[in-house]
């Protein structure tokens, strides 16, 4: 008798389809919601809500938790099973549920599930496989996009323009820094003799940065606007720290360029040796198209309109030359120290008399989030390696393409070793998955920490990234003094990697706009030229071609503290 009884694959849901209340308390089904959530979702009870506790949801939709892990329910059965098993944060599992509970809700009463059952019965065997996870992520991402998209913002500008203060004040006004901490910073900065740096201390946390009053490394944090979740990267402005700034800017989607409006300061930053130009060129070469220019310290010039317009026109001209479209650049007068025009529209009459545009926060909100290539194979560029508690170690980086889940195996190149991802953290919250565009921290096991350093790329084991020492690239030269010859030693900045390299061969010079070959095997390259060269690095670097991955194909060349060229990888040898 029991031979033809499908015990293992038995779908117990059939038994409960009739809203059978034997063995289930009515309370469980309908009233297991806290008053707060119930009040919010009263009418929408049938439709999804991310806040409803997982347990109630499960019983309502007819699946008993006690059935074990692989209980199939309907078409997206695996999702539910997965959430039960992983026990991830309520946020993610609650998020998974709505995606499958929505179709289920109307079906439960009508017993439409039965129709789906035959097709889903074989899935239990596969439910542990990747197929289930794929659906998981895509659906997840849809859900999340329906919410607030993630935006990576980098703050750049000349040294002492007020980047850290501006952002620190913004965070304070948004409530991410509580009053006591702010008060503590004020006291301590006054004691250290740097009273005006109180807001900057929110982002500059190392002792040395505070002592000297400079940002040395990119400070990372997050905040939310009305329609976006923003990962903020505060870049250093000093010439010496540009390599660190490049790492931050390479991960960004949009940028805020901060300029100092005070007399003389703007000019100092804008001339040839200043960082205003270099930073703007760098972010443009790294693929950022949208830019907000915060004309800071306007309170020092008494919010004068002519000064603002003077700066705007000069910058506008330069940014257009750099390649930014006029429609993608926005100018906002602000004051980081006093907090005017940051979060809310300013009330200073001197300003409102002639400026009626958006405040800085509103402008950040208005940026368009870029499309993420979730379909491409997984790529994560490591920007930091450290040992956290527990076994294994943590790597931080931005996912450039694809997605990742806990438990998956990834391959690290160039060490060419596989490891397992034990945990994922996004903005101090543990997650089970993450997709392209997220700046996450992965806890990995199965590999020696020595082998990984900043600049490695974690990728999909089935489609690994290429590693080479020699590659061909098309570069655009900036204003350089020294002409580039064969054997020229440069510093290659590719995402988070910075490697010394030499220009092995000058293959040809191309016409700036048409791209046709002007001269083969030139003797040397001078400024403004567009050329194809072969570059050889000292150690192997993991790279992708530009045509495969737009984000991963760009790099910069620097020499003696200034950027000489930006390029894209065309061929790997």
């Amino acid at each position: 008798m029991s031979r033809h009884r499908n015990v293992r694959g038995y779908n117990y849901d059939e038994d409960f389809d009739d809203d059978d209340i034997y063995g289930q308390s009515v309370d469980d089904d309908y009233c297991c919601i806290s008053p707060a959530t119930g009040g919010r979702n009263g009418s929408d009870y049938k439709l999804d809500s991310e806040v409803v506790p997982k347990v109630a949801r499960m019983t309502v939709s007819g699946k008993k938790q006690t059935m074990g892990f692989d209980v199939p329910s309907t078409g997206e059965n695996g999702v539910a099973g997965a959430s039960v098993r992983r026990g991830g944060s309520p946020e993610s599992s609650a998020a998974t549920l709505p995606s499958e509970s929505t179709p289920k809700r109307p079906e439960t009463p009508s017993k439409g599930l039965k129709g789906d059952e035959p097709s889903t019965v074989p899935t239990p065997g596969r439910s542990t496989g990747k197929a289930r996870h794929t659906i998981d992520i895509k659906a997840e991402l849809q859900k999340r996009l329906g919410g607030k998209p993630l935006l990576n913002l980098v703050v750049i500008g000349h040294v002492d323009a007020g980047k850290s203060t501006l952002m620190g004040h913004l965070l304070y006004l948004l409530g991410h820094v509580n009053k006591r901490t702010m008060h503590k910073y004020e006291q301590e900065s006054k004691k250290a003799g740097k009273a005006s740096f109180a807001y900057a201390w929110v982002l500059d946390e190392t002792g040395e940065e505070r002592d000297r009053g400079v940002t040395m490394d990119v400070g990372m944090t997050k905040f939310e606007t009305n329609s976006k979740v923003v990962t903020l990267m505060d870049a250093p402005g000093h010439k010496d720290f540009i390599p660190n700034m490049i790492t931050g800017a390479a991960q960004a989607d949009v940028a805020v360029l901060v300029v100092d409006a005070s007399r003389g300061e703007f000019e100092a930053g804008f001339e040839a040796g200043g960082q205003t130009r270099e930073h703007a060129l760098l972010v443009r070469s790294l693929g950022v198209t949208q830019l907000a220019v915060a004309v800071n310290k306007m309170d020092q010039v008494n919010w004068q309109q002519e000064r603002f317009q003077d700066i705007t026109s000069k910058l506008g001209h330069f940014l257009k030359q750099a390649g930014f479209k006029d429609c993608d650049v926005f100018y906002i007068p602000t004051s980081g120290l006093s907090g005017e025009n940051l979060v809310t529209r300013s009330s200073v009459t001197q300003l409102t008399s002639w400026y009626s545009g958006l405040s800085l926060l509103e402008q950040i909100d208005a940026f368009k989030a870029p499309r993420r290539s979730v379909d491409k194979p997984f790529r994560l560029c490591v920007s930091d390696v450290f040992k956290d508690q527990g076994s294994g170690f943590c790597v931080t980086g931005k996912i450039e393409a694809g997605y990742i889940q806990t438990g998956e195996r990834t391959l690290a190149m160039p060490p060419n070793e596989t490891c397992t991802v034990k945990g994922i953290t996004l903005h101090d919250e543990a997650l089970d998955w993450a997709a392209a565009g997220d700046h996450v921290s992965l806890t990995v096991t199965g590999m020696d920490i020595i082998k990984i350093n900043v600049g490695c790329v974690f990728c999909d084991p089935k489609e690994p990234i290429r590693v080479c020492t020699r590659f061909r690239a098309q570069i655009l030269l900036f204003n350089i003094e020294v002409p580039i010859t064969q054997g020229f030693p440069v510093l290659l900045h590719y995402h988070t990697v910075s490697e010394p390299a030499t220009i092995r061969k000058l293959v040809s010079v191309l016409h700036k706009s048409s791209g046709e070959v002007l001269k083969k095997k030139p003797k040397c390259l001078s400024k403004g030229m567009n050329a194809i060269v072969e570059i050889q690095t000292q150690r192997p670097v993991a790279l992708e071609l530009y045509k495969d991955y737009k984000e991963l194909g760009r790099f910069m060349l620097r020499y003696v503290g200034s950027t000489i060229a930006a390029g894209v990888v065309t061929e790997v040898k």
């Binding site: 946390e205 944090t221 010859t485 054997g487 010394p500 001078s526 503290g561």
Partner: protein
């Protein structure tokens, strides 16, 4: 190096007796030796002795051998020169034609005999025996997580130690990992300094970095020195000099050697002179490209036109080439000298020499512009990598 005896005849054959005194002299000797020369020096040979009873014993005997040079090996890190060849002269322990490897030792004279002594080689002997310009500078180029400890002598740049550590970046809320890792990094660099730098010989120790790493490191160094009561460091405190550089990689050495504060402090070292010459070449290449040439073919054409003002040539080209190639380069050098131009020999161990080698090893600044040469020449010279 001490020149003890020189005996060169009219047809340029002859012999020279030298005594190397320091490690750098080994480098000079390496550049002097050619395959086919004969080298006479004192060395140790393992000899098999057979006693009357038939038992074989081996003993090490010190003897003077004359070899015909076949292979030359130079270890730049240890500055050891080993020469292998066949025995030319009768010797009580070694048969004629038997192979032997001589390891040249400091403070032991050797005699070098060549069939032809050209100007380049004679120049080098003079340079090696020159008592002036023996400034030794030690430099530490560093950035966060990377440090190169380099010893710069007139003819060589030796990387004595390289420290590479991954330093975690600061994160929201916790900087302790960053600071602890930095401390460990400084500790490692300090150990390297104590181990590799000979404080008696070195005149100056440059600490170079972008940003504030150098200042932090120097304060760490002396704090530890005081704590550990390290007399050597405390005595040599004035020798440490912070300098700015753009990165922690080896080629940043060029920048610090041309830094004005460094050159004012030290007398003009040869290394700095070479860097300056290369800079001049690049400047000329930028402003008047027709007056700056590189590549053997181009430079030869310029030589034929008697146009060369300054010739920059790497000593790698003269080392152990077959005779026709070598004489080609020697001819270049001689003709430039005859026409009143200056020849700067770049040591291939220096950073500037490495860059020149990448640039084909020979470059020239001309007196007057010569129109750019035809393409076919171009292809052949840039194809070799």
């Amino acid at each position: 190096m001490k020149l003890l005896h020189k005996d060169i005849e009219k047809d340029n054959a002859g012999q020279v007796t030298l005594m190397p005194e320091e490690a750098e002299d080994m480098w000079h000797t390496y550049n002097l030796l050619q395959v086919g020369d004969s080298l006479r020096a004192s060395t140790i040979r393992k000899v098999q002795t057979e006693s009357a009873t038939g038992s074989v014993g081996s003993s090490r005997v010190r003897t003077t051998l004359t070899l015909s040079v076949e292979t030359i090996d130079f270890d730049s890190q240890a500055c050891q020169l080993r020469v292998k060849g066949t025995n030319l002269e009768e010797n009580q322990y070694v048969k004629m034609g038997a192979y032997h490897t001589i390891e040249l030792e400091l403070n032991r004279k050797f005699t070098l005999a060549k069939k032809s002594w050209d100007s380049v080689v004679l120049d080098r002997i003079e340079q090696a025996c020159d008592a002036t310009q023996k400034a030794d500078v030690a430099a530490v180029v560093m950035q966060e997580g990377l440090a190169n400890l380099v010893l710069v002598t007139p003819a060589m740049t030796l990387v004595r130690a390289k420290v590479e550590v991954t330093i975690p970046r600061k994160r929201r809320g916790s900087c302790t990992q960053h600071e602890k890792a930095l401390e460990r990094f400084y500790e490692a660099v300090m150990q390297a300094i104590l181990r590799h730098i000979n404080f008696d010989v070195v005149k100056c120790i440059l600490i170079a970095s972008p940003g504030f790493v150098k200042d932090q490191f120097i304060s760490y160094l002396f704090r530890e020195a005081v704590r550990q009561d390290n007399k050597i460091l405390l005595e040599n405190r004035p020798k440490f000099m912070p300098v700015h550089s753009s990165s922690g990689h080896k080629y940043s050495l060029k920048e610090i050697l041309t830094d004005p504060s460094v050159t004012s402090r030290l007398s003009d070292t040869k290394a700095a002179g070479e860097v300056k010459a290369l800079e001049d070449f690049y400047k000329m290449l930028q402003h008047e490209p027709d007056r700056a040439f590189y590549g053997v073919a181009h430079v030869e054409k310029a030589v034929d036109a008697l146009a060369i003002d300054t010739l920059l040539i790497s000593d790698k080209l003269f080392r152990h080439q077959d005779v026709p190639t070598r004489s080609r380069y020697v001819r270049l050098v001689d003709s430039v000298r005859d026409n009143g131009g200056t020849v700067r020999m770049f040591s291939s161990l220096h950073v500037s020499g490495e860059q020149l080698t990448q640039l084909s090893g020979v470059a020239a600044i001309l007196r007057f512009p010569i129109a750019d040469l035809s393409e076919p020449e171009d292809d052949s010279s840039s194809d070799e990598d």
